[in-house]
Symmetry: C2
Subunit: 124 residues, 2 copies
């Protein structure tokens, strides 16, 4: 389960895809430790670049991502993790997917309804 | 169509998904110029980190990616591009998707047959 962490300052790109619908839910980054934790625990764990710490997705919201299947690419520097969402949405803004904005002409338009109230979950 | 290129040294992550099956075909990176070219031309264009140049996917193989829909995430630093593959596969190793290896236990196993002969296309 070797990966190449050298190309992105110790990180690999991790695409999270809903295991049933195939929808891309989020994109995050994993360092070697978060990758090992992901495999060992079965829950997607990232390296937060902004907070500079390990980040078990769902640690505050409870909306964890249970990993069902894992794929890597030809360069072993990116991952696709097919996951089950343990919650209504992965996005901290209340949407099922972080990719809730679609390009329409030259503008980003919100393309779906919120799946939950982020204030009720995150208190902000 | 503003994006945040600041978090990854001038790049955003771009996930390419088959517009019909939803399969993740590849993950690449775009700088501002390749992003603009992608929107203007309708064909996925990346920044090659290894070759340090603009990279129209399919420029040598002919296997271009015709962009059908574009989504961005909450942080506007990642993209999902739903594309039609103009060829049998996007991977330079001959597979439909670059994500042809699946984690089985603790080992990466090739999970599919080649879709084309890379030697015939790339001559190597």
């Amino acid at each position: 389960m070797e990966l190449d962490f050298s190309k992105l300052d110790g990180l690999v790109t991790a695409v999270i895809q809903d295991h049933k619908s195939g929808r891309v839910l989020m994109v995050g980054f994993m360092n070697e430790q978060s990758w090992k934790l992901t495999v060992e625990t079965g829950y997607a764990t990232f390296w937060s670049r902004s907070r500079k710490k390990l980040w078990l997705k769902g640690e505050s919201s409870g909306h964890k991502l249970a990993v069902k299947e894992i794929f890597t690419d030809c360069d072993i520097d990116a991952l696709v993790l097919k996951c089950e969402e343990l919650g209504p949405g992965v996005c901290h803004e209340g949407y099922q997917s972080c990719f809730f904005r679609k390009l329409e002409g030259s503008e980003w338009k919100v393309n779906e309804e919120r799946a939950y109230d982020p204030k009720a979950v995150y208190g902000k």
